[in-house]
């Protein structure tokens, strides 16, 4: 419990740091940020200028007060008005994308985590077998491709040339979102290709990491003892070896999540998948600064929550952290 509270404290701190970073970013721009932004942003009417100023917290107040105003707004989820979608509030725009990102990210992470770890487990077990000799280098090779490039190739080949998959968006444009089989079917067919690409690009990391820890764990005395006990191979492999080897994988989850997300942002962009990444990149291209800031905070928030969930899972997996 103490461990969980400590982690929670840390995530709150991290979130605060992200807000602070967010606050200071516009102030990194040379001169008057609003003017710079407007200078590059093209024509905006005065109400938009005002909205921008408010969103950035660029008022006549002293810096410290500006900061606190920003902080309270951010915590309330008030990131101002998106000016590429004027006058829709940033938070509304973000919420349209959040679920798609969670859907895409969640499924690809879970699938690659399971498949990758299984490859790692079997590879280390059947040492010198085909799984162990050829799969890891292959995974290194696949993992070396930038995910978005894999995505480009996949779209070109599988969607444009072969027409196996839809090329863009999260569902058929003609459909109205709702709880009906047609819509679900469409969502799934649209997800398939991006998920495959994401899984491919993440698989290597999980598999190789698991394989290396498995090799260390397999050298432990408790594995020898489990073998001496005459237990079956499966029991030793999963209950004794993999169970222990998983701990570092789970610990690495948070860090990996950051990398995964990076890949996903660009995949969303390539597939025009309407998640946070797609929104972020189009916000960048449209110089919609309030939306960018809001998105950054929301993505950070999602990552922190995911990490926290993993921490809770971890305490279930490793009895040793429960005590301390």
């Amino acid at each position: 419990m103490r461990y969980i509270l400590r982690r929670l404290g840390f995530y709150l701190l991290a979130f605060w740091a992200a807000i602070t970073l967010d606050f200071f970013l516009p102030r990194l721009l040379p001169g008057d940020p609003a003017a710079t932004i407007l200078g590059s942003g093209g024509q905006l009417d005065p109400s938009q200028v005002q909205a921008l100023r408010e969103a950035l917290g660029l008022t006549d107040q002293p810096l410290i007060l500006q900061y606190f105003t920003y902080l309270t707004h951010a915590i309330r989820g008030d990131f101002g008005i998106s000016f590429s979608n004027f006058p829709v509030p940033v938070i509304t725009v973000i919420l349209t994308g959040l679920w798609w990102t969670l859907l895409l990210g969640g499924s690809s992470v879970i699938i690659s985590f399971i498949i990758g770890n299984l490859i790692g487990i079997f590879g280390s077990w059947r040492r010198g077998g085909a799984v162990d000799s050829f799969v890891p280098p292959l995974l290194v090779l696949v993992g070396a491709f930038p995910p978005f490039f894999l995505g480009l190739c996949a779209i070109y080949l599988l969607a444009f040339q072969l027409h196996w998959f839809p090329t863009r968006h999260a569902y058929e444009d003609t459909l109205v979102p709702g709880f009906d089989p047609a819509f679900f079917g469409s969502v799934i067919t649209h997800m398939l290709l991006p998920v495959i690409v994401l899984v491919l690009s993440q698989l290597g990391g999980w598999a190789l990491g698991m394989r290396n820890t498995m090799v260390s764990v397999l050298a432990e005395d408790y594995i020898t003892m489990a073998e001496a006990k005459g237990l079956t191979q499966n029991r030793i492999m999963f209950r004794y070896a993999a169970r222990n080897a998983m701990l570092p994988s789970v610990t690495a989850f948070g860090i990996v999540l950051g990398f995964v997300l990076s890949g996903q942002l660009l995949i969303e962009q390539i597939f025009s998948y309407p998640g946070l990444g797609f929104l972020l990149i189009s916000a960048v291209q449209k110089l919609d600064y309030p939306l960018m800031q809001g998105l950054f905070l929301m993505i950070t928030f999602a990552v922190l929550v995911a990490n926290f969930i993993v921490d809770i899972v971890y305490t279930r997996l490793d009895p040793r952290v429960r005590a301390g």
Binding site: F10, L13, A14, A17, L21, D22, L25, L28, P30, R126, R127, G128, P136, P137, V140, L141, G143, A144, F145, P146, F148, F149, L152, C153, I155, Y156, F160, G204, G205, L208, G209, N212, T213, V215, A219, D221, E227, Q233, A252, G254, L257, G258, F259, L261, S262, L265, L266, Q269, L280, I281, V284, Q285, Y289, M292, Q293, F296, T300, V303, L304, N307
Partner: protein
């Protein structure tokens, strides 16, 4: 993979806990072997009774210093990686010779498929894709290696400072490191680049800012464990200064880790800078693999079916990243004695019945009785 980069050199020198009371030479014995490629056991039909192991002379000190490095240079994976990366470095250096002419020049009509005149065809605006690819290597590799170097330097300084001095300094630096680890890098990178003036310097700065934390964490924990070693305590008792201890006692034991870190940071920098450029956050007038991809996408290459405009640059990024990862993969293998032990076993068992056994029980190899006469 770099997530599990095993520290290495250092570990081989200490007796590993799992030593099953094996040969006296123990784990070090296995670590110092210089010629792991030419195992004598491969000799077929050796007459029975002939000693297979000629006593090797005592290794000359000095040659042995960085055993892992020499072993690495004999590892086929590492050599593959080095060859690939080396090739691209050469291409970058000799770009004016290989693909003479201005890569930004409009040479022909747009979207021409590969031909003798234009090896990789032309892109959506009529520029030569081959030239762009070759010249792109220059900036992309430059950004990659410079950023890799900066990240390694920063993370080594922060990690070692935290690990060596411990206490409050460590608490603060570790907190900072963990914050940077948990705040997602690319989104931060994207908005950083969006707010800052575009340019190579900005990209390098932003990449370094978001990329140092992981390396710092790895080096901190390695420094911490080295700091606890008795040879550091012994140096302190001898009256050695902290400065000397950090640089002459601890640092040399971390070379392989630092090298691994440099390689993975470079890989990260090349991939991330390409991604940034791809979404238009680089200097779009510059020729890099990333901007090549950006223009390709911008000119609707996929709709036009002009695959040759994005495949070469993407493939180059992938190949360089693959080469670098392969070096690191090999480094892992070389510096992790356990991974090696298994490899050696496989080599020896090649072609025998055990190789196919599914069991993990100790293989029994009964030789036919040699003294039948």
């Amino acid at each position: 993979m770099e997530t599990h980069n095993k520290p290495a050199h250092f570990e081989q020198q200490t007796p590993s806990p799992e030593t099953v009371d094996g040969p006296v030479a123990g784990p070090e014995g296995a670590a110092e072997m210089p010629d792991r490629q030419d195992l004598p056991v491969e000799v077929e039909g050796t007459p029975a009774g002939q000693l297979l192991v000629a006593a090797p002379p005592l290794p000359v000190p000095g040659r042995q210093r960085m055993v892992w490095l020499r072993t690495l240079l004999k590892n086929p994976k590492a050599l593959t990686g080095i060859a690939i990366v080396g090739l691209f470095i050469l291409v970058a250096l000799f770009a004016p010779v290989i693909a003479p002419g201005d890569p930004t020049e409009f040479v022909d009509s747009p979207n021409l498929p590969p031909s003798a005149a234009h090896l990789f065809g032309t892109e959506g605006q009529g520029k030569d894709v081959f030239r762009q690819t070759v010249w792109g290597a220059q900036t992309s590799l430059f950004i990659g290696f410079v950023t890799g170097f900066i990240i390694t330097l920063v993370s080594t300084i922060i990690g070692m400072t935290a690990g060596y001095f411990r206490g409050r300094i460590d608490d603060i630096l570790t907190l900072l490191t963990n914050l940077f680890l948990v705040i997602p890098g690319l989104p931060l990178l994207i908005i950083l680049s969006a707010f800052l003036a575009p340019g190579t310097g900005t990209i390098i700065g932003a990449l370094a800012f978001t990329g140092w934390a992981f390396g710092a964490r790895v080096k901190r924990s390695q420094t911490l464990s080295l700091r606890e070693k008795d040879f550091v305590a012994a140096a302190l008792v001898s009256g050695e200064s902290s400065f000397k201890i950090i640089f002459t006692e601890i640092l040399p034991n971390m070379i392989s880790i630092i090298m691994g870190s440099f390689i993975s940071s470079t890989t990260y920098a090349i991939s991330a800078s390409t991604a940034l450029a791809f979404i238009g956050l680089g200097n779009v007038s510059e020729v890099t693999w990333g901007t090549n991809l950006y223009w390709s996408q911008n000119n609707g290459a996929i709709l036009q079916g002009a695959w040759w405009t994005f495949v070469p640059s993407g493939l180059c990024v992938a190949l360089v990243a693959f080469g670098l990862s392969f070096i690191n993969y090999a480094l892992d293998e070389v510096t992790n004695p356990r991974l090696r032990a298994e490899k050696d076993l496989n080599k020896v068992l090649k072609g025998t019945a055990f190789r196919k056994t599914r069991t993990r029980a100790t293989p029994v190899f009964r030789q036919s009785q040699p003294n039948s006469k």
